[in-house]
Amino acid sequence: MSLRQDVEQTKGLESCYQPGLKALKQRDRKQIQIEHPVGSADVDTALRSNYPNAARWDYLIGQRSGAATRVHWVEVHPANGDHTIGEVAQKLQWLKTWLSGTPLRSYASRYYWVASGKCSFNGRYPKLRSLIQQGLQPPVRHLTIPAKGR
């Protein structure tokens, strides 16, 4: 099965898979660079009607990694206060719960937070550590994912 097929078999994402980074909103694309992207999906928009009140995650991006495909889950969100850490924590929690019931759970996944606007945290910020322990990379203004993964 390809990533495209797995995305299309996921309830709510049937018709949102796009090649490369095309699924990303124009303003967000400027902040995200990834080598060898295979495809992407705007998860937030696609699941809005099924989960209107959920803290939905923004994007799925597939990357070719040797013979396999790796999935990067990217959230573009403000990073300017403790409340934003709480918001992203909720989103990550939601993403993982939702993901566990989809065919996409079988992919090697990475989780990223891209700061929309200025990032007010540095890597030493203690409250970020709990999110890092859950697998989220600390927020960055510009995300670059090389071919071998970040």
Binding site: K96, S100, R105, A108, S109, Y111, N122, G123, Q137, R141
Partner: protein
């Protein structure tokens, strides 16, 4: 002096440093930070340095190489090459040789730069500052001079009262409380006279602790405290009139983060009193304060916000210090052996320049730890699923 440029001198390939009110130098060991800071003193205080060496009978026989060995310490004379080394002060060449060979005039002016060396812990032997002449001639001048100044201070201004800390007319009461909490834990620092000899002791009631049993942090801090007493003479006098610069090497040595915060507050006090301060540091906490300071300034926050960063008790007197220093200019530079020095003043975690984003590599370890833990957590989850 606003800029100092040093090229091809020891490990320094090209260092062009524009000073702020506060300037911080970071970089690995032996990258030239200390040499740079000693030159900062030498270019401004060459006459008083020559005078002190002459007063103590150090004869360098008008040989620049012997002078450099005396000033920087044995074996360091080779860092300077007459042919290729270059030192510029505000873009004007600083000609070392003619200045060294120039005869001393009468009434040499007072020193402008007060340098607290990284080796300050060596200045106290058996709990008392060693005199200048007690050192070998190959020991760095800045260590000998600092030691002598502290000895002199103890024998004159501080000699009447055996209580050194806390001391009513030295440092604001708020700082004394912070120092007590973070460093002295209820002990007093006193001068004890044993027969004709004096020594520093930490005392709590009848319990007296001599120098050798103090904690590493206390041994590091007490020479610094004496330096601060010199720089902040008393309530009525804001600063030593002639001194313009304070150079403080590795203020964090041996100190817990709480005590580092107290030291940083004292650095702000020095800035408030009109000194320009230059630090070298290996502590992310020092850059963390500057990062917070710059961001707070940009966001229009007042001094109280910076006070909170340092855990200060914001009395009106301390608040005044923070409000004042918020306007000061701060600069930071990264030194690396045999490479051009990089300005990293922005400390922007998103900077395209990796050296600025990693705060001169001080965040590199944290960054690697963060990434490794996040990656392993996501991989572990996938395996469990």
């Amino acid at each position: 002096m606003n800029t100092l440029t040093i090229r091809k001198l020891g490990p320094i390939s090209d260092a062009a440093v524009r000073f702020g009110d506060l300037t911080v130098l970071v970089g690995p060991q032996a990258s030239g930070k200390s040499i740079f800071l000693q030159w900062l003193k030498l270019v401004q205080d060459i006459e008083p340095i020559k005078k002190q060496l002459a007063d103590y009978g150090t004869d360098w026989e008008r040989d620049p190489s012997a002078f450099l060995s005396t000033y920087f310490g044995e074996g360091m004379e080779g860092t300077w090459s007459e042919r290729s080394s270059q030192v510029l002060v505000d873009d004007k060449e600083f000609d070392l040789k003619p200045r060294l060979l120039r005869r001393r005039r009468k009434g040499t002016r007072a020193e402008r730069v007060f340098l607290v060396p990284a080796q300050r812990v060596l200045t106290l032997r058996d709990g008392w500052p060693r005199p200048f002449g007690d050192y070998r001639s190959g020991d760095p001048y800045v260590v000998r001079a600092y030691s002598e100044k502290m000895r002199n201070l103890m024998e004159t201004e501080l000699s009447r009262n055996p209580a050194l800390f806390p001391r009513a007319n030295r440092l604001k009461v708020e700082y004394r409380e912070m120092l007590n909490d973070s460093l002295f834990s209820g002990f007093e620092l006193n001068v004890q006279r044993v027969n004709a000899q004096k020594r520093l002791i930490l005392q709590e009631g009848k319990k007296r602790l001599p120098y050798m049993v103090w904690s590493a942090g206390q041994r590091e801090f007490v020479p610094l405290l004496l330096g601060l007493y010199w720089l902040i003479p008393g309530a009525a006098v804001s600063k030593r009139e002639d001194l313009q610069w304070v150079v403080l090497e590795e203020l964090e040595m041996g100190l817990h983060p709480r005590a580092i915060s107290t030291m940083l507050m004292l650095v702000l006090e020095l800035l408030h009193r009109g000194y320009r301060v230059c630090l070298s540091s290996h502590s992310p906490q020092v850059l963390e304060m500057i990062w917070a300071w710059q961001n707070l300034k940009q966001n229009g926050a007042d001094g109280g916000a910076l006070g909170k960063v340092l855990g200060a008790k914001l009395t009106p007197s301390v608040r005044k210090v923070f409000d004042d220093v918020m306007q000061k200019e701060i600069r930071a530079y990264f030194f690396e052996r045999d490479k051009r020095v990089t300005e990293i003043s922005g400390l922007n975690p998103d900077a395209k320049n990796d050296l600025e984003a990693s705060w001169g590599e001080l965040l590199s370890f944290t960054d690697r730890a963060n990434r490794a833990v996040a990656e392993s957590a996501s991989e572990h989850e996938a395996e469990v699923a």
